[in-house]
Assembly symmetry: C2
Homo-oligomer: 377 residues x 2
């Protein structure tokens, strides 16, 4: 186990990137002497390594960075069938891959993971003995300890202590997390939000997920529900939603909703891109649908900015398409609905992610816990 100073150092480096001992000492409020010792220990543990040397006036400084092979994590996505398991290094690189059949039985899941784990590790010898955690991403609400699934409609669960079950079967520290929150964590640790303290990730797909980072930490909300923007009312008295309300963002702007609206209009579009193509050649229905969806998403994002003033909005998508009408309208609506003096202040970035998002997100949850540990006061 690492000391709290060691953990803190890892955390700082993971947030601010490779830095010299002197810089790190200053940003942690420690003396150079203390830093020297802590760094020495972590290097000899194989968790840190010296990378670039920066030449300037005086003695050159040597940057310290996380050693990609300092720790390995397993990520499991329970959002797909078969469920992917990936082995990730400390940089978020996926270095091995397996799948297992998806089950709704927690014990069966734990069993399957325990069975698949050796196969996964066998692919990469260098991970031997350095597996530092398992993360599981699922659709649903997870408690603060990232141990129990409070509720998952998709899996039909209520108060399932999945993390504990897996930990018991595998002997490895395990944490579970909501899908959107897992993606946010992976963007913070491994992705394009490393150096941003406050940001929100919107994961755009058949559903719309969202998660917030506040002060460099994942903000889960009081019931683990922070970021559930899919069911905010965006069209008062709009179409009914499966949640029981009307006019939820989900009914207008999710990929599923867009496809359904297209189908209802008799359009033979099987993807957002198809619909964009239709719109670009002047199909009124396609334009109407994209406009409506874009406005809705843009308005929700504007609310997000107005309410939380994040430093970045990151929209991740697997099969989205933000270069056309949809994206343009979304951005315009977002700009038009924030305080004019704020407009343009908050970057809205879209990012296409590969099919490994969920599994990588899951792995990042394990990494996040390795870095944060049992959070101090």
């Amino acid at each position: 186990m690492l000391t709290s100073s060691q953990q803190q150092l890892l955390r700082v480096i993971s947030q601010s990137g490779p830095s010299s001992r002197t810089v790190l000492a200053a940003s942690m409020g420690l003396s150079k002497a203390a830093m020297s010792g802590i760094a020495r220990d972590l290097i000899s543990l194989g968790v840190l390594r010296e990378t670039e040397t920066i030449y300037g006036q005086g003695r050159p400084s040597i940057l310290l960075d996380l050693h990609p092979e300092g720790a390995f994590f397993v990520g499991v996505s329970l959002l797909e069938d078969p469920a992917p398991l990936v082995l990730s290094d400390f940089n978020g690189n996926i270095i091995a891959r397996q799948t297992m059949p998806l089950s709704r039985d927690p014990d069966a899941i734990a069993e399957m993971i325990a069975d698949t784990l050796p196969k996964l590790l066998a692919e990469q010898e260098r991970a031997d003995g350095k597996l530092s955690g398992i993360g599981v991403a699922l659709s649903g609400f997870v408690d603060e300890k990232q141990a129990n699934c409070v509720k998952s409609t998709l899996l039909g669960w209520q108060d399932v202590p999945l993390a504990g079950i897996i930990r018991q079967k595998t002997g490895i520290d395990t944490f579970i997390e909501n899908d959107a929150k897992a993606v946010a964590v992976s963007e913070k640790l491994f992705g394009s939000a490393r150096d941003v303290q406050n940001f929100s990730v919107v994961s755009f797909g058949n559903g719309i997920g969202c998660a917030h980072f506040v002060g460099g930490k994942l903000y889960r909300g009081n019931h683990g529900g922070a970021g559930e923007i899919a069911h905010c009312t965006i069209e008062p008295n709009g179409s009914p939603c499966r949640c029981g309300k009307r006019g939820c963002l989900d009914t207008v702007a999710s990929l599923k909703a867009i496809k359904e609206m297209a189908k209802a209009e008799g359009l033979a579009c099987h993807s957002l891109k198809d619909l964009e193509t239709e719109a670009s050649i002047g199909n009124a229905a396609a334009i109407r649908i994209l406009h409506r969806a874009g406005s809705a998403l843009g308005l929700a994002i504007a609310h997000l900015i107005q309410f939380n003033d994040p430093g970045l909005i990151l929209i991740t998508h697997v099969e989205g398409h933000f270069d056309g009408l949809f994206g343009t309208v979304m951005r315009q609506a977002a700009e038009a609905n924030v305080l004019p003096r704020y407009a343009g202040q908050t970057p809205i970035r879209t990012r296409r992610v590969d099919g490994d998002v969920w599994a990588r997100g899951a792995a990042s949850i394990a990494a996040h816990n390795f870095l944060i540990g049992s959070t101090p006061y």
Copy 2:
């Protein structure tokens, strides 16, 4: 200056209320031995004191609490003319009061504060030598260090380093903060949100302000704009707002907006209460106005819940009135627009505050900084 452990202890007590040494040691992750010493020091400094004795099995435990006279703070509100200055003890009790003419000139303000300070302190000898900070509440945006006013339309300021100027003139540590955020801090430190980690305070008045606490800390947002719900679009294509957009919450639900709507309808109502009375005797226009305002505020609060999942929404108001139609509709709209499975999970509390809110809020900013100090990593 206090050590970081001492500060931490004060913070924990201020959050969780009076506790025994053993409990405190556990919740701070320290040994009883360490706690014993830290507590002894703080008691002899006059910052902590032993209060109740709890009898159970074994040796009785003695609760430690902040000593109300352990530190004193001055709060200045630049929201009123004349501007009130209050002297507050460590419990948020206002023990002295002065006023000074409001000015737009930072130097003049600092001068006035420096002049008024002795008079304020003269009222209460026990505060002698224990004045630990000055807080200033103002309408506008404040930077992260709570030192510079980035922008205040009301005061006509842009990048004014007010805190530094006052600090220089008075020799006392000074921090400035946005009005709504100051109120939130005072609710956290002194009010009804002491033990809630995540909550939002909506200050309802001629304008609508809001501020969030996340993880027990004030969340300021990336540009200090977190919580600016007044200008979120609540009625798409609604009435124009002075901010340049349309349909902002501020144009429908603020006290000012309600009064203006009443006036426009030819109603002779000078307060929300008058309007409620009108509505209660069946005045259609009054009912319409209250309904519209309540729905708007309720929807905004629903968004707040849906986006951030706070543990509490606290609505503070000086001359509001939430027992009538307005309040009822507001609550209904809030419930109706959150995920049904969440409805009712987030308490929405209204709280009438006295005219000292802003000044007390300002003082609490100083207290907050005394407790948090220069925040560690």
